[in-house]
Every structure is written in C-alpha cells, then in structure tokens.
C-alpha cells in the first residue's frame, strides 16, 4: 500500500501516529457495528421472507376470487359495484433506530369490514372478494415495515463493509507504512547526525593535537 507523501519529520510522525490510532479504533467499532447489523438482518430477513410469502399467497387467493366473481356476476356487474366509495386507510409511521439506522415502525389500521353495498344485485362471491382483499391490506403494513427495514439495514451494512475494508486495506496499512518510512528516515538522520558529530569531534581532536605539537 503506498505511503503518504509527507515530509519525514517528527511532527508528521506524531500526526500520522494519531491518525493510525484513530483508524484502528474506527476499524474496531465499525467491525462491531457490522457484526450487529448482520445479526439484525438475519433476524429480520426471516420475518421478511415469511411475510412476503404470505402476501404472495394472499394476493394469489385474492386475484383468484376476483376471477370467480367475474365469472359468477360478470365483469360489468363487478365494475358497477366497484363504483362504490372506497375506504381510507389509516397509516402511522414511527421511526426507530437500529445501530444508527433509521427504520420504520408501521402501524396500519384497515377499516373494519363495513357494509358498503346492498345485497339486491350482488352475489355471495363479492363478500368473499372483500374479505380476501382486506386480508391483503392487513398484511401490507407488516410487509412495508420488514422489507424497508431489511433494505435499509442491508444498505447500511454495505456502507459499513466498505468503510471497514477501506480502513483495513487502505488507510491503516498506509499509515503504518508511512510511520515506518518516517521512523526509518528519522533514524537515518540521527545516524547521519551522530556520524557528523563524531567526525567533527575526531577532526577537532586531531586539530587540537596537531596544534599542541
């Protein structure tokens, strides 16, 4: 990993050393965060798979029952019934935090089964249509919550993993190499300084002894 382009000075050494300590601490924390996110995702993903399967099955049942209604009553009559007023749904979304990731907590109140049409021109099958589609709606809150949670946690996990990788493979090695380089250069400078001092001392001693003669 390439070292940083810095001058090999003591002050730079101290700065890089501090950065390395920070990077190592950051790595430690992010590594922990990654583990927690993985555990949380594994936990929620089971729920998400379950609810997704339930919703798929319920959608299939609901569409099949609409087909039955079309066959028994005729599309025209079913559409004439569909002119009736639809009910509004009450949705409350409360944010909560999982390892700093904001995920929704969805409270979804479907209207209670209400009589919306007279029975004079309708078949029993229409009541079943209403029942099956209400069951679909009842599941949508939980589905929205779990799928959104999984998606957001997965996004955060990806981001965390990228940071962990960057720290582990780029920044920390780079800082370590830079520190090693600076240490080497500083040592080299010290050795040179020591050698120069010895040389100067030897020269001075020689000059001194020659004057004494």
């Amino acid at each position: 990993m390439p070292r940083l382009k810095v001058s090999p000075t003591r002050s730079n050494y101290l700065v890089i050393k501090q950065r390395l300590a920070l990077a190592r601490e950051g790595y430690r924390l992010l590594d922990k965060k990654r583990d927690v996110l993985i555990m949380e995702i594994l936990r929620v993903i089971e729920d998400a798979e379950r609810i997704q399967k339930q919703v798929e099955n319920q959608f299939q049942r609901a569409y099949e029952i609409v087909q039955e209604a079309r066959a028994i009553m005729g599309t025209e009559r079913v559409r004439r019934l569909a002119l009736s007023r639809t009910e509004e749904v009450d949705i409350h979304i409360t944010p909560r935090s999982v390892m700093g990731v904001v995920v929704p907590s969805v409270t979804y109140v479907t209207p209670e089964k209400k009589l919306r049409y007279g029975f004079g021109d309708t078949s029993v099958i229409l009541d079943q249509v209403q029942q099956e589609w209400k069951a679909v709606l009842d599941m949508m809150g939980e589905l929205a919550e779990t799928v959104t949670t999984v998606w957001r946690l997965a996004t955060e996990l990806r981001r965390t993993q990228r940071r962990v990788n960057a720290l582990e493979h780029i920044f920390i090695p780079s800082y370590e190499e830079t520190l090693a380089y600076i240490e080497e250069m500083l040592e080299e400078k010290e050795r040179e300084e020591l050698f120069r001092m010895k040389l100067t001392k030897t020269r001075k001693e020689k000059e001194g002894s020659q004057e004494g003669l």
Binding site: A71, G74, R85, G120, D121, V124
Partner: protein, 357 residues
C-alpha cells in the same frame, strides 16, 4: 278489481311466451358453447342463435367488449319481460311491472354509486343496462345531477322517494351508500311481495311458487351473509331482510342470525327431498355460502322449468319463462367470462345454474 286473467287473455301472453321460450338455448348449443375454444369461438356460436341480433348491433357500433355484451344481454332480458307484459292486465301486469323494475333499480344504484364518487356522467352512463323507452325515469337529467340529495329530489314523484328520504340522513352521517341501497332493495322486494299477495287463486299460487321462492332465497342468503361476513347482530339482520316473504319470516331470519345451519334451514323450508344437501359439506360456512347460493339458484331454475309444464294458460308459464330467460343470460355471462379467462369446461360447468348436461 279482478286480479286474474281469463284463459282468453292468457292465450295471447302464452303464445308470446311460447315464441320467446323456443328461442332459449337448447342442450346442443350449450354443449357447443362449453366446448368452444375461447371467447371468440363462443361468440361465433351465439351468432347462430337469437342473440345474433345483439351481437351484430354491437359489432356495428364499433366492436364488442365483454362488458358491453353483458349489459346488452341484460337489456335484452328486460325487453323480453316487457314483451310478455304487453299481453297482461290488472294484478298480473302490476306484478310483472314490479318484477321488471329490478333492472331499473340496478341502474339507479349504479347512478348513486357514480354520483357519490363524483364520476363523469358519461362514464356512469356506460354502466347502465339499456332499458330503452320502457323506463319512465328521466335518465339524462338524473345522470347530470351533481349531488346525492339532488338526485333524490329528482325522484320525488316516483315510488323510490320514500325509502330514499328515510335513508338519506344515515347516508349523510355514515358517508356510505349502504343505507340507501338496502332501503331501496327492501322496499323493492316488499313491493314484489305485495304484488304477489294482491293476486288470488291459482295466479297467487303460481306467483308464490316462482317469484315468492326468489324472495325466500334472497332472505336466507342475505341473513347468512350478514352474519358470516359482517358479524351483524340479530336485530340488525332482521332489520335488513324482507320481513314477510313467502316461506321465510322474521322467525327464520332470527334463527339464521343466531347460528342455524344452512342445511337445517333448507330442509325446514322446502323439505328433505328438494335439495342434494351433500353439496353443502364441510363446516366452513364462508366456503359453504357460495355453494348454497348456487344450489338455491339451480332449485329456482327447476321450479321455473316446472312452471312451464302442464296447463299452459296460466301465470306460471309467463313467470317460468321470465326466470329461465334471466338465468340463461346469467349463464351466458358466466360462460363468456370463463372462456375469456381460459377455464376448462368442467370448471365452467361447476358455476353454471343450468346443470342438466
């Protein structure tokens, strides 16, 4: 006032009914329809029947959609009812007029639904069964009303006004059309019951047998639907049904509301031999109800067919034909829808009211 028609008066009506009855589809045509490859193939088969007129008229208007065809088939059934009525008078005419009005009522409900949702009148108009000049309601004016109260006001000089005025305050409170629709339905079927009981002698017997059975069927089905799908209380269920039909009354309705089994109710009202109760197996009432509905409709069809047999100059022949005609339209709609969805013949047969093949 005489409420029965003499033999000579029934002769005209009977001749008309015989002519119309001969146009109903026979077993061979039904077999062909069931075996048709798809919707278009079924349509081609229908072009060789008296329904050809309806199909060609739609083709000339620029192509057929299933929804249009359904609407026009119902319009044809309504028109056939008027064709029979022309030869009647007195109490019989009143009865047939009330019976015919269920087409008008269906249109009126579509109007209320569209208006409640502030839909474009042209869109709502496309949902109305074509009744031609037979309906005396001012449909153009009704379509262009902008409020439910305005629509009710327009109907002030009709027999619909009383139930509408009574139901309107609750509609305003609950913002639901259910009070209006149920009020119209109950008023309609009470009028039908009244028209039946206005008749005397064999006319009354025939009317009770054919149309009275319809009242009883609906009473039973409505009561079960209110209990099973909507968990209404016994008081509410009694309130939203027809109090005095022919064989069903508030006592039976209360028993249904309190949990009576559908099979027990059928045996109690029509006897053990009337139905094949093995078709109502299982304890899941929500699954049983659609089968109950089909069982009752098939029973009604058998009664209508029987009413056409024997001595011809009677009210039973007229009513029998009218019921068979409407049930045939319902079966054609079922078949065409099923062919459009690619259903196999065996699956289609399970949903047809006509079940002798």
């Amino acid at each position: 006032m005489s409420t029965s028609l003499g033999i000579t008066q029934y002769a005209g009506a009977n001749a008309r009914v015989r002519g119309l009855y001969s146009r109903l589809l026979d077993k061979d045509v039904w077999r062909e329809l069931l075996s048709a490859e798809d919707f278009n193939a079924a349509l081609e088969i229908l072009k060789n029947t008296h329904y050809e007129r309806v199909i060609r008229a739609l083709e000339q208007r620029g192509g057929i959609t299933l929804e249009q065809l359904e609407r026009y088939l119902w319009g044809e059934a309504a028109s056939n009812c008027r064709k029979v009525m022309v030869f009647t008078g007195g109490g019989v005419r009143i009865l047939l007029t009330v019976w015919w009005q269920h087409f008008e009522l269906e249109n009126l409900k579509a109007l209320f639904r569209g208006l409640d949702q502030q839909m474009d009148p042209n869109v709502v108009n496309r949902f109305l069964i074509p009744l031609g000049t037979y309906s005396t309601l001012p449909w153009e004016a009704l379509l262009h009303e902008r409020t439910v109260s305005g629509l009710i006001d327009r109907l002030r000089n009709t027999h619909y006004i009383n139930p509408l005025r009574a139901a309107y305050p609750r509609y305003q409170r609950e913002r639901s059309l259910f009070p209006i629709e149920v009020a119209l339905d109950i008023r309609y079927y009470r009028d039908l019951a009244r028209a039946i009981y206005r008749l005397t002698g064999s006319d009354r017997l025939d009317a009770k047998r054919v149309l009275g059975t319809r009242l009883d069927m609906l009473n039973i089905l409505w009561a079960f639907r209110y209990r099973i799908y909507y968990n209404l209380s016994a008081e509410e269920i009694v309130n939203y049904t027809i109090w005095h039909a022919v064989r069903t009354d508030t006592q039976i309705i209360q028993e249904i509301a309190l949990g009576a089994d559908p099979r027990d109710i059928l045996v109690r009202i029509w006897g053990e031999e009337a139905f094949d109760l093995s078709q109502l197996t299982g304890s899941d009432e929500t699954r049983m109800l659609p089968k109950l509905e089909l069982l009752l409709e098939r029973f009604w069809r058998r009664l209508a067919q029987e009413a056409l047999s024997g001595y011809p100059f009677k009210l039973g022949s007229l009513l029998g034909y009218l019921v068979l005609n409407e049930l045939e339209v319902q079966d054609i709609v079922t078949l065409l829808e099923a062919k459009g969805m690619g259903w196999e013949p065996e699956r289609i047969k399970e949903h047809l009211i006509r079940s002798e093949e």
